[in-house]
């Protein structure tokens, strides 16, 4: 199941684990990324807290955590080559995997139709 946030993150939900990244729209708005900083595996993140930082030539932007949970895996490939976030934001450029504290909370997030309406 794919969910979205108003802060332009996507979540792919499989059981109690969410794979999180930023949307194609967000990647386009940010422009070519030159630096990505990811959370440490094992860190406990809260909904709307800072999870990651992405930087373009011009500016740094925060990536927020969409739900409460523990980081169980991060995608080192986008740290090594931030341009993947621009070329495949909703595929190869996932940011981290989150073991959700309350998987049911995901129900309140946006579905794809609602997100597309938001950015239209």
């Amino acid at each position: 199941m794919l969910k979205f946030t108003a802060e332009h993150e996507w979540l792919k939900l499989e059981g109690d684990v969410a794979t999180v990244g930023i949307t194609t729209h967000a990647a386009e708005q940010l422009g070519d990324l030159v630096f990505v900083e990811l959370p440490e595996v094992g860190s406990q993140l809260s909904k709307d807290g800072n999870a990651a930082t992405v930087e373009s030539v011009k500016a740094a932007s925060d990536v927020y955590c969409p739900l409460d949970g523990e980081v169980i895996e991060v995608n080192q490939a986008i740290v090594d080559d931030p341009s993947i976030v621009n070329s495949d934001p909703q595929g190869a450029a996932w940011f981290f995997k989150l073991k959700l504290k309350n998987p049911a909370d995901a129900d309140a997030l946006l579905d794809e139709t609602a997100y597309q309406e938001l950015i239209a």
């Binding site: 422009g31 070519d32 030159v34 630096f35 900083e37 373009s56 030539v57 011009k58």
Partner: protein, 378 residues
């Protein structure tokens, strides 16, 4: 600037929109920060070929002595800038700055001897204040802000060949030469200078013909439009100061490592030593040095260190020693670059200090500026 004031538009505004630019407010103008190519590609294109920038927001000012003598205008302007203007030959340009009574910098500018007058280009955000400052202090001169001209910058290793298509004589110009030129029958003033670290030109054109000339330049296969985003990363790699970030009234020219712009004639023992605002402090600092200096900073890791990041002597954040004034990612350097002010004990290239970024203390190395090798045609 209050939010209610409508943004001003340059004569190229419609062209920017038609080229798909992302527009942002800058110094009271609605300006292109980037085009669809994006900051990274625009930056690299400028270093590889030729980039066209709209810098029409900057102030173009005529300073003409009432006597009609350019020497009188030069002598008058020397009372406001620590630059040898009397020694500036017709058709030549020089970098300088207005100083205040405390030896701080009011603005930086380019000064050209145009034969019977001086032509001055100042920063957009300061232009009204600069004109008022000159009018107040240059009583023997008429000071006129030109409202009917646009300013284009064409920068990069292929700028000369791109411009030669419209005006072949351009290839004979050297760095900091200024010439009259007719481009598509418009009376233009071309200088071989710019703010990217590359060879290039700034072209003052009549507003009415600006779009036509810009379009003609953009028809050249090597030439692409470049926004303010890449202008900033290009000048940062070139070690050039942005007024309001790297220099302002709290920084003296010597602290800012701009003493190269103060010629011998205006220094202690020179023919016209002093005689500009803040001369006591500035001449003293030329002899005795300053307690801090602007230096290049090369972050050792991959994380950009942005302006206003605090600098520390140690990696624990114990001893704060200064601040980053400009910083970001240098596309040509392929890594982060920055500049800032540090105490004189820390100015030696190779010295390791630390910058605070999101609560961490990242190692940065004090570096010589510029970060790239300029390609000026001297």
């Amino acid at each position: 600037m209050d939010d209610q004031t409508p943004l001003k538009k340059t004569p190229l505004h419609a062209l920017h929109l038609s080229l798909g630019a992302k527009m942002v407010p800058f110094a009271g103008y609605d300006m292109p920060v980037q085009y669809p190519a994006g900051v990274l590609k625009e930056h690299l294109h400028t270093r590889a070929a030729a980039g066209l920038f709209d810098v029409s927001h900057m102030g173009q000012v005529i300073v003409k002595a009432k006597s009609g003598s350019c020497e009188d205008a030069a002598r008058a302007l020397e009372s406001l800038v620590p630059v040898d203007i009397l020694g500036l030959k017709p058709g030549r340009q020089r970098y300088g700055f207005f100083t205040d009574e405390n030896g701080g910098i009011l603005d930086d500018l380019m000064i050209t001897n145009r034969g019977d007058h001086l032509f001055v280009v100042v920063n957009a955000a300061c232009k009204e204040a600069d004109v008022a400052h000159m009018k107040a202090h240059l009583s023997g001169c008429d000071v006129t802000l030109l409202e009917d001209r646009a300013l284009l910058a064409l920068q990069g290793p292929r700028a000369a060949s791109a411009l030669a298509g419209l005006w072949p004589e351009v290839t004979a110009m050297k760095f900091m030469d200024v010439r009259d030129a007719s481009l598509l029958d418009a009376a233009c003033i071309i200088s071989r200078s710019g703010y990217s670290g590359e060879d290039g030109f700034e072209i003052s054109v009549p507003s009415a013909q600006a779009e036509q000339i810009a379009k003609a330049l953009l028809e050249h296969p090597d030439c692409q439009p470049i926004g303010l985003g890449a202008r900033d990363s290009l000048r940062l790699e070139a070690g050039l100061c942005l007024y309001g970030n790297d220099i302002d009234t709290t920084t003296s020219p010597i602290e800012a490592s701009l003493e190269w712009a103060i010629q011998k004639a205006r220094r202690m023992g020179g023919e016209r030593a002093g005689g500009f605002p803040g001369a006591d402090r500035i001449l003293d600092e030329l002899t005795n040095g300053t307690s801090r200096r602007r230096v290049g900073l090369k972050p050792e890791g991959k994380a950009p260190v942005r302006g206003h990041s605090k600098l520390f002597a140690d990696g624990e954040g114990g001893t704060e020693i200064g601040e980053v004034t400009s910083g970001g990612f240098g596309p040509s350097v392929e890594g982060p670059v920055a500049m800032g002010y540090v105490p004189t004990d820390y100015v030696a290239p190779g010295k390791q200090i630390f910058a605070e970024v999101r609560g961490k203390y990242l190692p940065v190395t004090v570096s010589a500026l510029p970060f790239i090798t300029p390609t000026y045609k001297r």
